[in-house]
Symmetry: C2
Subunit: 145 residues, 2 copies
């Protein structure tokens, strides 16, 4: 990286969706009684929306009272960090809508009962890639150079 | 893991802080104009609070208008996922309070200008560890057994 280049790169919408499809774990931020809450979730991409499973609880109560949510997934390697954020509207899938779940690679990591499917319809999808400058990773003796 | 054990383990407060201290990357959820927003951040633990640096922008505007925030950091390995969430109140550090930053292992990964220090005073710290059951990772021929 030259000093003249910014270390922050904005991803195109297509790159964001590629990244979303390549991952299955992220975090959901939602409103609950005027507070912001944040939980890890497994998700899958269904066309241009995200779908996740959940049991009765805060997530479902929260999105039923205020559908405004934000979702983030990221990947950090030694040289770069990539983060994609989806802001949108969440709602529980009802009746036959739920069958879409069976067609998705939605594989909960943990075998706890999860009865409800929730879809996030995006309002805004943004992504950034950061070239990492972590000099302390290179604080090693470099020999006689 | 026996079938009788829950795959979800609640971490003690001490385990949560150990985990927070062992990491430096997480995500901040905050309110902005009635919406919930979510961004990746680098952070450090300062005694019983979190500190991060930020430039002027949405994060700073958001927490100055509504200090209610949630923070999450996690680590996923093949066998388990650990996630710690801090709910609390964020405020910009002013004047001499900012000098604490120089004592912290707060190492932004990206060399973009960051002028403000923000502290998150926890209201609630919770953590969970999930024993992962990802059978598709084990969908391999097992020989003649």
């Amino acid at each position: 990286m030259s000093d003249h280049e910014s270390p922050v790169h904005v991803l195109s919408t297509e790159e964001c969706w590629d990244f979303l499809r390549a991952n299955e774990f992220g975090r959901l931020a939602f409103h609950l009684a005027g507070e912001v809450h944040l939980v890890p979730i497994n998700y899958a991409v269904d066309r241009q929306r995200l779908v996740f499973l959940t049991a009765e609880g805060d997530k479902l109560l929260g999105v039923s009272m205020n559908s405004d949510v934000a979702f983030e997934t990221d990947l950090v390697t030694e040289e770069r960090a990539t983060s994609v954020v989806v802001r949108g509207s969440a709602r529980e899938l009802e009746g036959s809508e739920k069958y879409v779940v069976e067609q998705l690679p939605l594989r909960p990591w943990v075998n706890t009962p999860k009865y409800s499917a929730v879809a996030i319809e995006p309002v805004e999808v943004t992504g950034r890639r950061f070239d990492l400058s972590r000099p302390w990773l290179h604080d090693r003796p470099t020999g006689a150079r």
